[in-house]
Symmetry: C2
Subunit: 433 residues, 2 copies
C-alpha cells in the first residue's frame, strides 16, 4: 500500500458492495486495516460496520470519535445497531448514544433493555401490520400508495385493536387472493409469536425446524413487538457452530484472524495455562511411580500410548454428544441408552486396541508380560473414556457450563490420569519385586 | 414402549408435524426407531424422510420395499428427492426409480445428472417465470386465477423468448407497483444467475454475504434452470459447520447419535488406528533415548509436558486458520503475514511458558539445569507448533485435502516428535557423560 496507490485503492473500495469491503478488512493485518478504513467514504461506514465481525469492528470503532460513530450507525436496522452497541465498552456506548438524535436514541435504548442473545435483541421493529376487518383491495391500494415495504418482508402480521397478534398473511397470498376478501378471511389464525425473552439459539432451532423466513415476536400479553428475519438467523447459526468449534480449541469465538500479536497471545494463554496445570498433574501421577520408572526405562517409552488413545476415543464420544445436544437429540431424559451405548463402544474399542497394542509391544520389546500389562491398561482407559465422554457434557449442561468450552480439557485430564495410573500401577504390581 | 401403548403412540405421532416426528426418531435408539416407523401413517412417510439426517434415513429405507419408498417420495421437491436418492446404494436407487411413474423418474434422473454438492443438486425447478413485455395487471390477474404460488417464492424471474434470464422482480414489488407498468420497466436488470455447477459451499457463502432469500440457477448460456431457496442454504451452512467440528474429532459428519454399537465402533476405529500409529511413532522417538531414560527417571516423568503444550498451541493456530479459510479471510495470497504472526505468537508463547515451566521444574525437582533444558525444549516446540499450525492447513488445501479432517493428527504428530526430540535430545547432550 505505497503512497501512489491510495487514489486507486479508494476508488476500488468505493465501487465494492459493503460486504466485500468488510471481507477485505477482515483479511488484512490490523495495521493496514486502519489505513484502509480512512480511505472508505464515511457515508458508507455504517454499511461496512454492519458486516464486520465483533472483534474487527470494535478495533475500528475504538479509533473513531463518538460523533462519527453516531453518524455512521444512524441508518442501521435496530437489531444491527443494538448488536453493535452491546459489544462496545459502556462509556463509549454512552458517548455514542448522546451523540444520536432523540428518536434513534429512544429506539436503541428500548432494544438494549432486552437481554443479550434473546429474541428481543435480534428482532426488527419495521413491521407492516394489518387489521382483520380491512379488505385486500384496500390494502393493495395502500401499499401502492406507500410504494415500498421493509426489506425481507415475506409476511404481514395481523393485529387487533390492542396490538395483539391474531394471525398472519404471507405476501404471496395477497397476490393470489380475491380482492374483495377481508384480511380476517384470508389470514392464518392462531399464529403463535416468539416470546421476546426466548434465547436466540432456540429461535434459530425453530426457524431451522419449520423452514421459516420470518417470525413475529410478542410479549407476555401477545402484543406484537417486531419480527425476526432469516438473515439474522443465518448469522446466529453460523456463530453458534463456530463457537462450538473455536471453544473446543480454547479460542474466543469472535477472534479476529489477523488480530495484533500481543492480543492473540494473551487470549490463548488461558487455555495453555490450564493445559500446563493438567500436564503437571499427569506428570505428578507418573512421579508416584518414580521407583518403577527408574528400573524399567521401557515403561517410560510406552507411557504415552494408553493416555493418548483414551484421549482420542473420549473426545470422539464427547464431540458426538455435544453435537447431539446442540441438535436437540440428546437430553437428560434420553441420556441413559446413550451412556450405555458409549460404554459398550468403549469396551469393544478396549478389546480391539488392547489385542493390537499387546501384539505390537510383545513383538517390539520381546516381552509378553509387558504386552499383557499395556493391554489391561488400554481396556480400563477405553471404558473410562467412553463413560467420561458421554456423562461429562450432560453433567456440565446441568450445571450450566458450556461443554464445548471446558469438556475437552477435563476429559483429557481424566483419560491421562486413569491411563497412566492403570499402566504404571499394573506394571509396578506385576513387574516389581 | 409396551404393547398397550401402541395406539396412544400412534395417535401422538399422527398429530405431530413431520419435523417433530423426525426429531423423535433421531432421538431414539435404533431398535425402537424401527418399531416407531411402523406406527407412522404411510401417507406421512415422505414428509418425515425429508426431515431425517442421511444416516438415520438410510437405516429406515433399507428396511422398506422399493415400491413403498417410491410411494413415499413421489410428492417430494426435486432437491430433497435427489438428495435422498444420492445417499442410497446404487441398486436400491434403480429399484426405487423403476417403481416411480414416468414424469417423476424423468425429473429425478435429470437432477441426478448434476454433480453432487453443486447448485444443480440443491435447486428446485418449480419457478414461476415472467415475460418482460407483460403488464403487472395481467400478471396479477393470472396469479389470482392460479390461486397459488410455489412455497418460499419471494422473487419472480424474468426470462426472454429463449428462456434466458434477463432480470427479476421481488414479490413485494408486484404489490407496490402501478398496475399499468410492464415487467420490463419494473424488473431489476442484468440479474446474474448462479452457475449450475457451482459448489454448494460457495452458493451458501453468496447467500450469507448478500442476505439473499432465493437465487436463480442458470446454465452456461444463461438459460434459467431453477432456483435455490434459503431453507436449503441453512441446511448447507449447518452441515458444513458440523462437518468441520466432527471431522476434527475424526467422526463421520452424518453420524447418527444412536447408531448401533458395531457400526459406531467400526467408524471410529480408523481414527484410533491412525492415533495408535502416531503414538507408536512418538514412543519410537523416546526409544532412541532409552539409555538416557534408564539413568534419569525424572526425564520420563516430565517427558509429556512439552509435547502436550505444543499440541494445544498448534491446535489453536490450526483451528483459527481453518476457520479463517472457511470464512474466506485466509487465502494463499495473504497467508504470509498470517504465518509470520503465528510464528511470533509461537515465540512469545514459547518464552512465557518456558520461564514458567523452568521455575516449576527447578523448584519441584530442585534442579536448575533440568529447568533450563525443559525451557529450551518448550521454546523450540512452541515455534514449531505455530509454524505447523499456520502452514499445514494452507498446504493441505493446496493439495485438496480437507484440513479439518487430517490437520489435527498431522500437527500433533509433529509437535510430539519435535517436543520429545528437543527435550530428551537436549537432556542427553547436557546431562549424560
Amino acid at each position: 500500500l505505497s503512497n501512489g496507490m491510495y487514489v486507486q485503492v479508494r476508488k476500488t473500495l468505493h465501487n465494492m458492495p459493503a460486504c466485500d469491503v468488510a471481507l477485505v478488512l477482515e483479511s488484512t493485518p490490523s495495521k493496514v486495516r486502519t489505513e484502509l478504513w480512512q480511505l472508505i467514504d464515511p457515508e458508507f461506514h455504517g454499511d461496512v460496520l454492519e458486516e464486520l465481525s465483533e472483534d474487527v469492528r470494535n478495533g475500528i470503532i475504538r479509533n473513531m470519535v463518538p460523533e462519527k460513530v453516531a453518524d455512521a450507525v444512524e441508518d442501521m436496522d435496530t437489531d444491527n445497531l443494538v448488536e453493535l452497541l452491546r459489544t462496545l465498552p459502556d462509556d463509549t456506548v454512552q458517548e455514542v448514544l448522546s451523540s444520536m438524535d432523540f428518536q434513534d436514541r429512544q429506539r436503541a435504548e428500548k432494544a438494549l433493555a432486552y437481554g443479550e442473545e434473546t429474541a428481543g435483541f435480534v428482532m426488527n421493529t419495521d413491521t407492516i401490520t394489518l387489521r382483520p376487518d380491512v379488505t385486500i383491495d384496500v390494502i393493495l391500494r395502500y401499499l401502492r400508495l406507500k410504494g415500498d415495504v421493509p426489506e425481507d418482508t415475506d409476511t404481514f402480521y395481523v393485529v387487533n385493536r390492542h396490538d395483539k397478534l391474531v394471525g398472519y398473511v404471507p405476501v404471496t397470498k395477497l397476490l393470489t387472493a380475491r380482492t374483495d376478501m377481508t384480511v380476517k378471511e384470508l389470514m392464518t389464525k392462531n399464529a403463535e409469536g416468539i416470546p421476546v425473552e426466548m434465547p436466540e439459539r432456540d429461535v434459530a432451532k425453530l426457524f431451522e425446524r419449520y423452514n421459516w423466513l420470518s417470525a413475529p415476536v410478542v410479549d407476555a400479553e401477545n402484543h406484537l413487538l417486531g419480527r425476526i428475519t432469516i438473515d439474522d438467523v443465518v448469522d446466529i447459526i453460523r456463530e453458534d457452530a463456530e463457537h462450538s468449534m473455536m471453544s473446543m480449541a480454547g479460542l474466543d469465538d469472535e477472534a479476529d484472524t489477523y488480530a495484533p500479536i500481543m492480543k492473540s497471545t494473551r487470549r490463548r494463554s488461558i487455555w495453555l495455562g490450564v493445559n500446563l496445570f493438567t500436564a503437571l498433574l499427569a506428570a505428578a501421577v507418573s512421579d508416584l511411580f518414580e521407583a518403577t520408572l527408574s528400573q524399567l526405562a521401557v515403561l517410560a517409552i510406552l507411557n504415552t500410548i494408553v493416555p493418548s488413545m483414551g484421549g482420542v476415543a473420549g473426545n470422539q464420544t464427547l464431540t458426538l454428544v455435544i453435537r447431539g445436544m446442540a441438535l436437540g437429540h440428546v437430553s437428560p431424559g434420553n441420556s441413559k441408552p446413550l451412556v450405555i451405548k458409549e460404554l459398550a463402544i468403549g469396551a469393544l474399542n478396549g478389546i480391539i486396541w488392547a489385542v493390537l497394542i499387546a501384539s505390537v509391544v510383545a513383538l517390539w520389546k520381546q516381552d509378553v508380560m509387558l504386552g499383557a500389562i499395556i493391554a489391561f491398561a488400554m481396556m480400563i482407559n477405553m471404558v473410562a473414556a467412553g463413560l467420561a465422554g458421554a456423562t461429562l457434557p450432560i453433567l456440565m449442561q446441568r450445571m450450566n457450563i458450556d461443554p464445548a468450552l471446558a469438556g475437552s480439557v477435563i476429559l483429557t485430564t481424566i483419560t491421562d490420569v486413569v491411563g497412566i495410573f492403570a499402566f504404571l500401577g499394573t506394571a509396578t504390581l506385576m513387574l516389581m519385586p
